[in-house]
Symmetry: C2
Subunit: 194 residues, 2 copies
């Protein structure tokens, strides 16, 4: 899925600026399973405007930079829904430097191994909290998407959020249960083979 399609999807939840769309992918609704950088979002919005998929209104703000508030056109909405029906989803891709590095735990000082594991766990604990769509502590920009008139998140969003939390929690649990065993084994090997 290209960034243009991701932007259309982001705007399905209502109007937003390019900056706010980035936040949805960085902090917000989509953050645990999609990525899009500013360097791709702004050109995508320009292209979508040219193609009549979105329109924008320019808002001058006092003491702040101007805003361009983007909105789906009916054609943009139709195009996105058609894409949903026709797209064969690409394979999931998960990329983790930490796990790659941990693969070489035997070649590293044990303190580094432990630090990497702790960081991995901490990141997933944080993410698990961030994902919760009903978490009241979250800033507004994390709440853009997929809510109905009552402000409740859509069933699809809840399902995906729950799935993300389950994955994070499983990660944290596995580390809690297996970290010490790994460190002990690494220490043993170092003692026996110097």
């Amino acid at each position: 899925m290209d960034v243009r399609t991701l932007c259309l999807g982001a705007l399905m939840g209502g109007e937003a600026t390019g900056y706010e769309i980035r936040k949805m992918f960085d902090d917000g609704t989509f953050s645990h399973f999609q990525i899009a950088s500013l360097g791709s979002i702004y050109p995508a919005l320009t292209k979508l405007t040219q193609d009549g998929m979105v329109t924008f209104v320019e808002h001058e703000q006092e003491n702040k930079p101007d805003k361009k508030i983007y909105q789906l056109t009916s054609e943009g909405r139709r195009t996105f829904l058609r894409t949903l029906l026709q797209t064969r989803p690409a394979e999931d891709r998960y990329r983790s430097d930490i796990l790659f590095m941990l693969t070489f735990a035997e070649e590293m000082p044990i303190e580094l191994t432990e630090a990497l594991i702790d960081e991995f766990a901490a990141r997933h604990e944080l993410m698990s909290m961030q994902i919760d769509p009903d978490n009241p502590d979250k800033p507004a920009h994390q709440k853009f998407h997929g809510r109905d008139e009552d402000g409740k998140p859509s069933p699809g969003c809840c399902f995906v959020a729950g799935l993300g939390q389950a994955m994070c929690n499983a990660t944290v649990k596995f580390i809690r249960e297996n970290k010490q065993g790994l460190l002990d084994e690494l220490r043993n090997r170092k003692a026996n083979k110097p």
Copy 2:
């Protein structure tokens, strides 16, 4: 982590061709947490050769294309280990078209929603089996990496593999427990609001 570093890491487990390195990221040891395509691996190996990090021997094969078998130089090995110590790992990035699409479940036919969920579960079940480093059914190219003299996978590899399996299993479990609930709710909503 750039593809050059990933290639050095792949060659830590022994000599390999570019094609075999791709398989490690596609099918093999690294497949569930790193990605590298042929279009980036071959140029990376060329660059690494120029920089003295790897060397290769050309093998002519009867009735098959020639092979270039790459091997780490001692400088390549040193460089990789230094990189391990000095690199701040980037944030993990997970990208899933299916989860993005499922976010819009309310806008799709229920059959599509169910098909997407089933595919997601099937992919994760498959991956969970593929990850197992002791699975005897796996083809040779999935066994390249991180084994000691006895052929046992390294502790780091086992830990990372176990973590990957835990994530996959949690995903499958969540779907088993929550899929029907989502479909029921979607059907209810469709019945009430046409």
